[in-house]
């Protein structure tokens, strides 16, 4: 057996041992609707808009005409609500608002979660 073949089989063996030993096959449970949402039932006007205005639609972030997305009105937010990107960044990855900005409180996160789960009603 040549040195090249030995090198190949040794490296392949190491790679596959590492790969298979670190493999799992897990799924997240189906998300349950938070029971608190039954009583909160938040809507955009009056509940969600003030949160968005104070934490997202601020100058340099999601203000009117922003290249990162305009969150000043319900209609301008809709595309990112429909495609799930707002939920992904705000609730799943929680990297929005970004580090250094005032974060969303637990109460605000719950209101946004309930609002999105209810189909983000306007009023």
């Amino acid at each position: 057996m040549t040195l090249r073949a030995l090198e190949f089989f040794f490296t392949s063996g190491v790679i596959f041992t590492v790969l298979f030993s670190s493999c799992t096959k897990d799924k997240l449970p189906e998300p349950q609707v938070n029971s608190a949402c039954d009583t909160l039932m938040p809507v955009y006007i009056g509940t969600i808009k003030p949160i968005i205005d104070s934490k997202c639609a601020i100058p340099g972030c999601h203000s009117a005409g922003s290249s990162a997305g305009d969150f000043t009105t319900y209609e301008s937010m809709l595309p990112r609500l429909d495609n799930g990107r707002f939920k992904k960044r705000t609730l799943d990855q929680r990297d929005m608002p970004p580090q250094g900005s005032e974060p969303l409180t637990e109460e605000e996160l719950l209101l946004i979660e309930c609002w999105i789960n209810a189909g983000f009603p306007k009023q």
């Binding site: 190949f8 392949s12 670190s22 799992t24 897990d26 997240l28 998300p31 290249s67 997305g69 990855q93």
Partner: protein, 293 residues
């Protein structure tokens, strides 16, 4: 006369033997096509420093004038290097931003050439293995993939078999068979996804080539072959890329358009949710610089 005939026969036999051992090289001009890896390898002790950038959607809801057709956003970025360990084996280490549920990725890639096209062998064959580790902060209580209940949930893997044939001096084709495994997925998703892909490289001039690749997931919600999809799953699309490659001796510069936001296999095969038809394609470029060590 008999000596001359023997000499001619011997010369022809030697020529045929030499031709049968002549390797067909440069089916592609780079180790990556657009999204897919190619069968090409780095020469031993060659270092390839690589920067790949994908801008935001050119059109659609997130594109157009407000984002200057996506140029003011970055969907994904790769910084890293590949290194040729031997003639038939190379490795790479890259950091990518990540475009799916896992972000801030460290990717380790291995590629081995198993066969080389020659007159007696119609294909160049290579295999790749990629491991991807998310280094993002754990988002506790989110109920999403980024909650990472175990450390192993940060990992995703990809394995590929690349089979290429150089049709002529100007045209190369590649069939790709891929599998991607993610240790943790949402409730509607499959951990392991299989995919097949096609790629081509057409040389237009001495320096300029046209390149294209596409991946077709074969199972899960990602696959167009699956008629019944989970209602909670987002809409997935085939990652398709087209581009132009410019080679200027030591540099490869590539400019492309693709609907894939992710750059590495563990991202773009299971996570492409952007559609060409809805204008959700982006401009991308690759800069590669080769060094001899």
């Amino acid at each position: 006369m008999r000596h001359l005939l023997t000499y001619c026969l011997l010369w022809c036999a030697l020529g045929a033997w030499a031709q049968s051992r002549e390797r067909v090289v440069r089916t592609f001009h780079d180790t990556r096509i657009i999204n897919t890896q190619s069968v090409e390898m780095l020469a031993p002790r060659r270092l390839d420093i690589r920067i790949v950038h994908r801008f935001g959607d050119m059109l659609g809801d997130a594109g157009g004038w407000p984002t200057f057709y996506g140029l003011e956003n970055a969907a994904d970025v790769l910084f890293g290097f590949d290194y040729g360990v031997s003639e038939n084996f190379m490795l790479g280490l890259y950091r990518t931003k990540g475009a799916g549920d896992r972000r801030q990725l460290l990717n380790l890639n291995f590629k081995a050439r198993l066969a080389q096209q020659r007159p007696t062998m119609p294909f160049t064959i290579a295999a790749t293995a990629l491991g991807s580790l998310s280094t993002m902060s754990q988002v506790e209580g989110s109920g999403a993939v980024s909650s990472f209940p175990q450390f192993s949930h940060r990992l995703a893997f990809s394995g590929q078999l690349l089979i290429a044939h150089k049709l002529s001096e100007y045209i190369g084709l590649q069939l790709t068979l891929s599998t991607v495994h993610r240790n943790l997925v949402p409730h509607y998703d499959d951990n392991t996804i299989f995919a097949s892909g096609l790629a081509t490289h057409i040389q237009l001039t001495k320096m300029l080539s046209f390149i294209m690749d596409v991946q077709l997931p074969l199972n899960g919600n990602q696959s167009p072959l699956q008629t019944v999809k989970h209602p909670d799953a987002p809409n997935y699309y085939l990652p398709i890329g087209v581009g132009i490659e410019v080679e200027t001796g030591g540099h490869v510069f590539q400019i492309n358009l693709t609907n894939s936001a992710g750059i590495v296999e563990t991202d773009f095969i299971p996570e492409t949710t952007q559609s060409w038809r809805q204008g959700e394609f982006r401009l991308g470029f690759t800069i590669s610089r080769l060094f001899n060590l």
